[in-house]
Symmetry: C2
Subunit: 388 residues, 2 copies
């Protein structure tokens, strides 16, 4: 039972790479797409209008953060996350599982759910699959994610298998809850977006048989799309790429595939080559705030003294506001002076680089030249040593 | 000897209030005007394009900060401040005197100049009137200010008199240096803006005879415009207004008058009523970052719990991006969550409020209804209790 306002259509394929259109209750997204991360209802350091100007079609909100502050019930009373934050375009929310894994203290996972303490005030909480679905019903995102259990890397087969089986059980409970919320009133839960879709998450660490079992079990539950979770947690890049390729092979061709929390520009290109349609990552925004900038010729650490009098733009091939207007020397000055504008201008550039990369990928797939795009991308990207 | 590219024309008067156009080497400014403060070459928390979108026609740069970091010689090698920071419109720079007074440690004022230690690294510096002119020649601002001596409030007549006399001596030396820089090459100084104008500064604390002597002496030196310094340092508001009125009366009618470092929206209206043309103040930008917002109905402290679920815009009469797009509830959330966007959106609003106030003032003067504007402004402004 697909969400009525959700659909996905593959319009072009080129090898395993796919171009398509994902339609949600708040509009369409061209895929492959990158979702800037709007953790607490805002993409850090830039405004929504800047984000729209960059061509971002969808952002990600973090359920863990929004649940703790300002609270999902408040957001529901404000009409849902779109209205609350003033962003009328598509939003995907995660389930909160990953932040419980990475941010909270005294976390205990049982079959019931995840017991954890808030990183803000130490208060105790229990997040169950049903509760994660309810919170996301309050938020009213266009795509909700099931609660899953993430394991650290490295992780023994046995532990990975337990987490994978629990994730599958939680996926079933998550799905049941969403269908319940869709079909009938549930006490105490306000569904702010009747068109919310739901994606399942494939887990299984780096163990291929677990991934295959996870994919089969998750697909059998019948979600609107499928995510690959538990990667980009420290495993070697080639292992990650291999797991991605082998997992997408187990997923339905006509539904969207989302690689969670990944990655570098090269990771995006390589994962598209393996059939992924959707990405999110804090790398462009977090690196921007730390002065680490992505350019066609490699990475730039704007703090570096060599840029002190460099009148060139960050990236001469980039058409973003930052590159059209400012020199490396000025950007270095703003960073060293601790000016907020440094975070803003760097974020604008890094996000533009990511979104431009996705535009280039989509065009290349449409014209059947994705392999030459991929080759040229890696050649340019590796031509200049990383400056950090 | 006026700077060739600098001119000022009063186009309308209404009582003592004047509307005019000030033309500089980088374009014209409608007056009365408010200059957002771009301390270190950036107005805090917003981009230049946002600033242009708000209708800001001129910004202020702080010589003290830019001299210490990145250094005026570097800025000169980059072609001057306009090119370095990518702001093509008018810029006024202060002389550094006020920041030495307020920020530096172990400050000693002698007739030669101001000995001080950097607030950044404790390094020792001497700022003389000539050096302040040289630094501003490097920066290439459209309007440079003479070095003056600020005194604290309260300040005895004798001490105020000494500072006033020293300021007058420094004004003469500042003027001589600028004329020297204009007419011939000075070793080690690159003049990056041949059209730079220079304003003198009237000091004298709250002592009327000192203000009159200072004005007469400064005007006799023949500057392009005149500033009133040493106010908004703690004296009662009615004393400040009185000094402003009595000082503008001593200044040439056909030249611009700049009240330095002031003030609240009401201060702007009252000072325009007393013949002031130009203002700068950190209040709108600094308050914005602290969550203190100016609205037509009074001040709002966005941290206040009462705004937690308030779906209204900050100011229903305001057309800024923040008010057109976001609720008080969301702005409160962003502020409490420590999001950079809170600083940006609040700054956009507060600056728009200030610039809108100036637009309203200019229109009112042009239509000969400044007094009714002034009355309505104070009635609206005081209608709602300050919420802080």
């Amino acid at each position: 039972m697909t969400a009525p306002s959700f659909s996905f259509r593959v319009t072009h394929t080129d090898g395993h790479a796919r171009r398509g259109v994902m339609t949600t209750a708040h509009g369409a997204i061209e895929t492959p797409a990158f979702m800037p991360v709007g953790t607490q209802g805002a993409v850090k350091a830039i405004t929504h209008r800047d984000l729209e100007g960059l061509g971002a079609e969808i952002i990600l909100g973090n359920t863990y953060h929004l649940y703790l502050r300002p609270g999902d019930a408040l957001i529901a009373r404000q009409g849902g996350l779109h209205r609350f934050i003033g962003w009328p375009r598509p939003i995907l929310t995660d389930s909160g599982g990953y932040q419980i894994f990475s941010l909270s203290s005294r976390r205990t996972i049982t079959d019931e759910g995840a017991h954890f303490r808030s990183h803000l005030d130490g208060s105790a909480h229990l997040l169950t699959p049903e509760k994660a679905a309810d919170i996301q019903a309050h938020l009213g995102s266009d795509i909700a994610m099931v609660l899953d259990e993430c394991v650290a890397y490295p992780c023994a087969m046995e532990e990975s298998a337990d987490a994978m089986r629990r994730t599958l059980d939680w996926a079933r409970r998550s799905r049941d809850r969403l269908l319940e919320l869709r079909s009938s009133a549930v006490d105490g839960v306000t569904v702010t977006n009747q068109g919310q879709a739901q994606f399942g998450i494939v887990q299984g660490g780096i163990h291929l048989p677990l991934r295959e079992a996870s994919a089969a079990g998750t697909v059998a539950l019948g979600f609107d799309g499928y995510a690959i979770g538990g990667l980009s947690v420290g495993e070697p890049t080639d292992v990650m790429y291999d797991i991605v390729a082998r997992t997408t092979a187990c997923l339905p061709a006509q539904q969207p595939r989302y690689l969670m929390g990944t990655g570098t520009p090269a990771d995006l290109v390589e994962s598209v080559a393996r059939g992924v349609d959707l990405f999110d990552c804090v790398l462009p925004t977090r690196n921007a705030r730390n002065g680490q900038l992505f350019t066609a010729g490699g990475r730039i650490n704007i703090k570096n003294a060599r840029y002190g009098e460099d009148q060139r733009p960050l990236d001469r091939d980039c058409a973003c506001y930052t590159c059209r207007t400012f020199s490396r020397a000025y950007l270095r000055h703003l960073f060293l002076a601790g000016e907020i504008a440094a975070a803003t201008l760097n974020t604008l550039h890094n996000l533009n680089f990511y979104l431009d990369t996705m535009r280039g990928i989509r065009d290349a797939i449409a014209f059947g030249r994705f392999e030459s795009f991929r080759l040229a991308f890696h050649q340019r990207w590796s031509r200049q040593a990383v400056d950090s």
